[in-house]
Point group: D2
């Protein structure tokens, strides 16, 4: 109820602070009998890891995951899986100068108002570092979904600051530090370099996609698949907008073109983004998120201190000049967690249903 | 778990189908001692009601609400409040011709795949008619929040199809059938008239706002206030996108301008939309949603039938040419339900917290 | 969260007060495709109904159930099933004289302290009348479980006041107003007659049983099948104790005799009551509950009034001299709801598990 | 949903297996601002710890607790508190001979049927060792409740095997290894010595009590305080029965004596056990639980093996001859967790209620 558990049947409880001894999560509801080891989880953590390029925070953490429970002789047992990631590079002194002030656009103001406590250690609980356990849990969900349905999750950056990025191919994504689906990222690198030197930050737009999603996932009236996706995405640090399928572009569309035509071979377009009436249609899930610029920047900003008096804030320490860069594996993981949860829910409620209509899984 | 309950501490369980005997909801968790009668609820239902102009469905329902439980001698008792709305104008025969086909962009395809059942009566459970009980429940939440914090919820249309609507004043909203914040809606009426005669439909963009929201609402890491808002909004029929504050525009912003400066008198802008780190800041909540065009249209569309064969679909019957028109009171109600739930959650967890810093409630 | 929903995957939300316009429930999570009509539900309601003998309250209610949603063309649709029972015999004036006092052993004292409100109409929400919707929901669960697993639920009275009742046969239960498993109930009738004339009341002990329960139901560590059964039973009005299997007798047993031996043909005893480690073993579920004497009696009792001053209370009106008599169908229904919920949960989490060991379903 | 989280507003998620690397829990919902350190928690863990007398298992574990998150500068932050207990004495080979058989009365049969997996390491997840994290979480709840309401939790043994133990004083409880409220435990020691040498085990009856419980805790219709207590108690390993107040004795009572009289000075008896209509009355909470004999014993028992064939089972290894002995601190902790959860729930829903009637907190 205090908002640290994600999901209902595949429930992930997250704990830890940015600069405490450890962060981690407990996955409750993973079906028994799936082979699982750290090698299934570590690669996704490595994709999210800080310190891998000059465009992300220089905090250097191995983010090595340990499995404390729920796996016996290499297989899940159906009991809770505790995943632990020790914090190893906490330079708390870096944050010393911001304890008495509030950073514009940062959670320190609202956390203090809510809890009456100020934890300056890297943002404490509000740090994006807490997405690491979700990436780990997402890797478990991805594995189960791939084994059962062949579901594949992918994400890429489609805009950074003012620069739109025109999709070329998924193949390019792993080859550059921006998760950009393009061959040549030199323009992105130059843009970021200027920004970084100016002590400023920028936003990003991320696309996330899932293929081979079973038809029938999602609960009306609430817990619609797209509603749960919106919840998951908006819950990622710094996200300010979520679109499914045609998204905001659908405002200017007409019904005669928006609704995706069906033929015996499949849907002929995907304005729906894979969801109709809150339930997956078997088409690819397609969504986009907007990520705001990092609020912790070197540029001086007008603010107030703990006494409510005017002051100026400069945030030193190690920060991502564009938090959106590392958001791609996070958004993929969150999408996988939503789909996993609904796959189990569907099994519970409609395990009996046999529909003779062949699901139309792919766009033509 | 099957997705028919909204909220955790102020939990609204929704039931009914578009053309069954009745629709309604049970509100569990309303605090005791608040005066409540149907006159507190009916006005919001009337704002959402069909048949009030030629721009919405001609289905004519009084949508008269009855309170079956939870109120004694005019006051809430703390026990469940059951609100019932009888269906009185169900012309099921209008839908007879679409039983054997799937409408592009409509939930009938996915409902059939999920449940193995086809309920053609006005969309059955997938009908937007099921938002009526939520509007009723939202009216209860609005009353409690206004009495405790002075919170006020407002919504308006900011775009219809290709036509952007420039905000003039909240005062104009009740005076036109579009919930448009402008004095002269003749251009909107002409646009809709052309569309309606062409048997087509269009999308809309709705802005929703809340003032006098207490600071400190929202739970990290999940159940962030904005995450729950996104969940609530994306769960409204036909919504394809949600933005908080600057939303997708924040992608192209820089940190040096996006983060809202603080001064002793208040925040100097509201790019955050009233939420920092998932917790309300005391500023106005500001959000926008994208609503897709109605999928039930007279224009013929390519589709398949229950046997998976090619066919053409024309949807007769009574439908809104722009479902977005009636979405404004719905979106207000859903926002009120989210804020109400978090107000009770905050009381549970942080009832003790006394922060000496004066909350900054308003923008300058 | 306010405690009016029972179950997680087969979730029943209860509403209403004893003397309001109606009581009822919403069942969320019933799988689609099951045939269902009021004739499946009414018989169990009739077994619980008041006014059927001189040993129960003379309040005369038909308790006729209506299905408002969730069923289309005679089959469940997978959407919420709202069941409504109108109140027809509310003689509120009977209770007029107790509004200003607190009955010893009654909930009126604690309800007033908790909610700050006094609803004297037949106990308002605390009335045992609110078990009627649960009996209705239980009938739906029983039907599904019987169709899927052949599960059968039975209950009987095994003690009334000081009189133990030695089990003879389930066959006798429907033939007497006590739900007693004996041929001759004249002793019970005489006992009750004396008590009733004296304006007093007594307790009862009820046994409940379920056969053909699937093996594997129940979740460790919490939500154990027996823990959820205890929760369900202790939640029935006036219940003060719950035993599973050997229950309190197991305190004086030794390990060498308590643990039920297994042979290739089956378990050789059932001290466990059908549950091992919180998970059903396939043996019959066996449990007993203790029901306290009715607190609303004609015998004068020492108490206090709303001002906290000494007073004497006599409860007129229509009350059951032994609330335990009508508890049998209620306890069966609650057990069915628990088993149903766990059957769906098991399907979600362990739908894949195939164990080659043949389940041992019955005792030898 | 898979049953590893206890509580709703003060939610404790438990993880680990008896012989894995570690066990622990995550507490979500602890209010911020309470001082907390391991010294608040360790004493209760030490009371539950194995290896402290010859009457309990000789497994020797320090059960040292670590706080991994949720506490900053000695105070709770309102974020999840992860408590970790490393396993240090796992002699798995002790269990080698029972892997292929099922122990009568043990969970190994049902776990295998449910999950398709056999974890022989000390019972894996079904081990009573998993109560240690609950004792730790209970210590946190106890501290908060004591600081806010002066609530005190106590437990003692009232019967061991065939020997009833007549209550003398709470003062004696800490002075003997049985948690017995009597000065001279030599008879108990002799009884256990005989049993232990015979390779057998016995049951126990435990009383648990809470004083200074706020009035008004508990939710009707479900989540009644006593229903949640029953759920918590029946969920403890080996518990087969739960009684509140007069419990099963109330069956033979009459209404004229069972209902606790009220006077201006207080209640005159406590048959209710501190709960009326599911809501705390302010009287002491009083309950009893029945614990079955340990199923892992040296006495040979008839059983079957994994192939379903007849066999004989002898359980070597280290086991408690009476698991009830160490149950006292566990039952106290579980009761504290229930009361804590309801204290927060009450604050959420009825934080406004002001009743002028002075609560009657104690029996006369």
């Amino acid at each position: 109820m205090s908002g640290n558990t994600f999901g209902k049947l595949f429930a992930v409880t997250n704990f830890g602070e940015s600069h405490g001894p450890a962060i981690g999560c407990v996955i409750d509801g993973c079906p028994p009998g799936m082979t699982l080891s750290v090698t299934d989880i570590q690669p996704d953590l490595d994709r999210r890891r800080p310190g891998t390029s000059k465009f992300v925070t220089q905090r250097n953490e191995p983010d090595a995951v340990e499995i404390l429970s729920g796996v016996y002789e290499g297989k899940t047992t159906g009991t809770p899986i505790c995943l632990l990631i020790k914090n190893t590079d906490q330079r708390s002194k870096d944050y010393g100068n911001i304890v008495q002030t509030f950073r514009p656009g940062h959670a320190d103001y609202t956390y203090y108002q809510k809890y009456g406590i100020r934890d300056p250690r890297g943002g404490g609980r509000s740090s994006a570092r807490l997405t690491a356990p979700m990436v780990a849990a997402g890797a478990v969900a991805k594995k189960w979904l791939f084994e059962h349905y062949g579901t594949v999750f992918r994400g890429c950056m489609t805009q950074i600051g003012e620069l739109p990025i025109t999709f070329e191919s998924w193949d390019f994504v792993p080859d550059n530090p921006f998760f950009a689906p393009i061959a040549d990222v030199s323009a992105l690198a130059s843009y970021m370099e200027v920004l970084r030197k100016a002590g400023d930050s920028c936003g990003a737009r991320i696309r996330v996609s899932a293929s081979n999603v079973p038809v029938g996932l999602g609960e009306p009236l609430f817990d619609k698949l797209d509603a749960d996706i919106a919840y998951a995405m908006m819950g990622i640090n710094a996200v300010k907008g979520v679109e499914i399928g045609a998204g905001f572009a659908s405002v200017a569309q007409h019904g005669s073109s928006h609704g995706d035509s069906l033929s015996p071979k499949g849907f002929k377009s995907n304005n729906a983004g894979g969801v109709l009436g809150g339930i997956s249609s078997g088409q690819d899930l397609e969504l986009s998120i907007a990520i705001k610029p990092t609020s912790s920047i070197l540029t001086p900003r007008e603010s107030i201190d703990m006494a409510g008096q005017s002051t100026e804030v400069i945030t030193k320490g190690r920060h991502d000049p564009c938090v959106g860069i590392r958001a791609t594996p996070i958004a993929e993981a969150m999408l996988a967690l939503v789909v996993m949860d609904h796959a189990l829910r569907q099994r519970a409620q409609c395990g009996d249903v046999t529909v003779n209509l062949k699901p139309i899984k792919a766009s033509i």
